[in-house]
Symmetry: C2
Subunit: 369 residues, 2 copies
DNA sequence: TGTTAGCACTCACACCCATTGAGTGCTAAC
DNA sequence: GTTAGCACTCAATGGGTGTGAGTGCTAACA
C-alpha cells in the first residue's frame, strides 16, 4: 500500500518508492499526524521521541522523518520547522494507521437524545439535527435529504380553490407533501376534482417519480378529456419535481464553526469556503456519495473543487427501510480528527436510520404531531 | 431635536447641551459621517476642510469638532486620531442630516429583475430573493415570512394513508400548504375522511388560525363522534401551527458578507455576530417591527441584544393586499451606508409587495408551476 | 468675537535589527 | 543501525526609532 500510495503521487526516487512502510515508520507517521491534529503546529523530532515508546533518539527519528518526507507522507513548511502531514500522509493514516475511536457513553447518549426531537416533517427534523449536531462536534455539518427520484407517489389530491385555481397536493412515500397552485382554464368543481384525483391515484401512485411511463401519460390525456391544460400543468409539476431532485434538498449547519480552526483565521479563506458551502449546487456536489460506501473521506485536494482543497469532508449516508435516502458529513480542515469524526458520523447516521425506520415503518407510525 | 437627542444620552454640560446644532455644525457632522462611512478611518479636521465648501480653516473645524464631541455626536478613538461618529451621531445623521439616496436606473432594474423569479412557494421565493439581494447589496439580509396567526385556513383535507395513519393537509389563505401525519386509533375510510374534511371546512375555514372559537371546537367533538383522538390530534396540529407563528419563519442570507467589513476582521467578533444571526429566536427578535413604521433603523446599542451593539439594522416591511405580512432588513456595521440602505430596502419591499399582490390577487392567479 | 496660523504634543504604525529558540541535516564515533 | 555533537536556518519576538496624521492651546488678526 505504501507503494501504491506512493505511485499515486508519481514519486519514484529509485530505492525509495519501493520502500514499504516498516512498523517504526508507521508509528512515527501516526504520532506526527495525531500530534499535528491536536496542536496544528509542525511536529519536531524531539516531540515524536517523547510521545511514543520506541526508545529511539530524536536523531534517528530525524532520519526516518526525512525518509517519510521523501516518500511524500510529510511536508516541511520551511527548513527549520518540524514536519506536517501531506494529504498523502493523511490518506495513509486514514486507511491504515488510525485506530477506531470509541465513542464515550456520554457522546452516545447525547447522540440518542438528538433523536428525541419531536418534529413531524422530515426536512425540518434533519435540519434541526444538523444544527444541534454541529454544536456537538464543533465541526460544520453538511448533508442531503432523500432524493425525490427514488420516492414514490402515494397520493394525489386536487383541491379546487376558486374558479381560476386549484391546489395539487402530492403525498410521497416518505410522507412528505409537495404542493403547487395550478391555474385553471376551465373551472373544476369538487366532483370533477375528485374524479381526476382518483384517476391520477389509480395510474401514477406507487411509482418512483422518475419512472412514470410515457404511455400511461398519453392514456391519461384520453381518459381525462377536456382538461388538457390542467393535466399539462400537473405533469409539468411532477416533471419539475423530478428535475428538482438534481438540486435536491441540501443543507448545512454550524458553518461558523470553521472560524474555530486556526486554518481559517485568514478571513479571506474562511469567507471563500463559507460562501462555497452556502451554494446549493456546490453542496450538492460535495455530499455526493456512492451507495455502497459506508463512510467516505475526502482529504484536501482529493475534493474536486479548488475551494475545498484545504479541507476534508467525512461523509456517511443514512437509510430508510434499508435504502440510502440521504447523506450527512462533517467538514473541517485537513487536520481534522478523522478517527473521532468517522465514529461520530457513523453513529449519527445509524441513529437517523433507526429513527426513520421507526417513523415510517407501517408497524410503528410514531407520533403524528 | 438636537436637544432631545442629546438628552437621550443624559449629557448635560451646562451651556452645551442646550446648544442647537447650527448649520455649520450640521455640515461638519454630516461630512465626517459620510467620510467615515466611506473609509472606515477616523476623519481629521483637514479632511473635513477639504471635503466641503464652508471655506473655513482646519483650526476652526477643530473647534467645532471639539464641540460636537462634547455634545456626544463624535468620539475619538485616541488623542491623536481623527473623530468617528458616535451612535448618537449616526442617529442625528439618519433623522436629520442625510439626503435621500436616489437609486440608479440600473439598481432599480436589477431589483425588478429579482421579481421575475418563477417560484411558486412563497417561502422559497422570498429566500431566493434574499440570497440574490444580499449579493446585490453586499450586506447581510435578514427577514421574516408571513405570520401564520393572521392567515386564514382555506381548506382542510384529511387523506387516509393506511389503517394506522392519515395525512391532514391544510391550505391557507396565501396558498401555502401545511401538512402533518396523524396516527389513527380507529381506521378511517375514504368516505369518513371526506365527511370529516367537509365538516372541518364548514366550521373552521376563513378564520385566522388564532381566532378559532373554543365553542366551535366543542360542537365539532359532538358532531364528529367516535373520532375524539383524531380530532384532538387535528386541533393540536392547528394549535401548534398557531404557536409556531411565534417563531415564525425567519431567515438570513449572505451572512458571510459581514466578513467584507473591516469591522469584522476580528474573527471572534464576526463569529459571534454570525452565530447570533443564525439562531432563529434571535433573528425573530431582530426583525420585529411595529406595523406603522415604514422603515426602522436600529443603530448599534439601540439594538437590545449586546451581540448587535456594534452593528446596525435597516428594516422595512412588505405587504400583501395592503396588510403587513413580513419584514426584510439589511445588517451591517454601524458605519453602514444608511442613505443607500434605506432607499434600497424600501424599493425592495415595494417590489415584493407588488409581486405578492399580483401573485395572490384573485384577478391574477399568475403561474401555478 | 470669531477665525486662523503656529507650535508643541500625542500616539499608532511601520521599520530595522538583534536575539531567541525550535528544529534541521550532516558527520563522526559508538 | 544508532546516536551525540555541531553548525546552520528561519520564524517569531521585542526593543528602539522615525514618521506622519492629527490634536489642543495660544496668541495674533480682522
Amino acid at each position: 500500500m505504501g507503494v501504491s500510495a506512493n505511485n499515486r503521487d508519481g514519486l519514484c526516487f529509485p530505492g525509495v518508492w519501493i520502500m514499504e512502510l516498516d512498523e517504526r515508520k508507521k508509528v512515527i507517521l501516526g504520532t506526527i499526524i495525531e500530534n499535528y491534529i491536536e496542536t496544528a503546529e509542525p511536529v519536531g523530532s524531539r516531540t515524536v521521541a517523547k510521545r511514543n515508546r520506541l526508545d529511539i533518539s530524536p536523531a534517528t527519528i530525524r532520519n526516518e522523518m526525512a525518509d517519510l518526507e521523501d516518500m511524500g507522507y510529510l511536508e516541511q513548511p520551511h527548513t527549520s520547522a518540524g514536519r506536517i502531514p501531506s494529504n498523502l500522509g493523511y490518506r495513509m493514516y486514514v486507511d491504515h494507521l488510525m485506530k477506531r475511536y470509541e465513542l464515550t457513553a456520554g457522546e452516545i447518549s447525547r447522540m440518542k437524545a438528538l433523536m428525541e426531537l419531536k418534529i413531524a416533517e422530515l426536512d425540518t427534523l434533519i435540519r434541526e439535527i444538523t444544527n444541534i449536531y454541529s454544536r456537538l462536534t464543533n465541526y460544520t455539518v453538511i448533508g442531503s435529504m432523500p432524493e425525490t427520484k427514488k420516492v414514490s407517489i402515494k397520493h394525489f389530491q386536487l383541491v379546487p380553490i376558486d374558479d381560476e385555481a386549484a391546489i395539487l397536493v402530492v403525498v410521497t412515500d416518505n410522507n412528505s407533501v409537495k404542493d403547487t397552485k395550478i391555474p385553471l382554464e376551465t373551472p373544476v368543481d369538487v366532483r370533477t376534482a375528485a374524479r381526476i384525483s382518483s384517476i391520477l391515484n389509480e395510474n401514477l401512485t406507487n411509482l418512483p417519480f422518475g419512472e412514470v411511463d410515457p404511455d400511461v401519460i398519453t392514456s391519461l390525456y384520453a381518459r381525462i378529456s377536456g382538461y388538457d391544460g390542467l393535466l399539462r400543468n400537473i405533469f409539468r409539476f411532477i416533471y419539475d419535481t423530478v428535475e428538482a431532485s438534481d438540486n435536491a434538498e441540501v443543507f448545512h449547519g454550524g458553518i461558523t464553526n470553521l472560524l474555530n480552526f486556526p486554518e481559517y483565521s485568514n478571513i479571506y479563506r474562511a469567507k471563500q469556503l463559507m460562501e462555497y458551502l452556502s451554494d446549493r449546487a456546490n453542496l450538492h456536489r460535495a455530499v455526493a456519495l456512492r451507495e455502497h460506501e459506508p463512510v467516505k473521506i475526502c482529504i484536501g485536494s482529493e475534493n474536486k473543487a479548488a475551494e475545498l482543497a484545504d479541507c476534508s469532508i467525512v461523509l456517511s449516508s443514512y437509510k430508510a427501510n434499508g435504502e440510502v435516502v440521504g447523506t450527512i458529513g462533517l467538514v473541517g480542515p485537513t487536520r481534522m480528527d478523522y478517527s473521532r469524526a468517522v465514529s461520530n458520523i457513523k453513529c449519527l447516521t445509524q441513529q437517523i436510520s433507526r429513527l426513520l425506520d421507526k417513523k415510517y415503518n407501517k408497524k410503528n407510525t410514531g407520533k403524528g404531531v
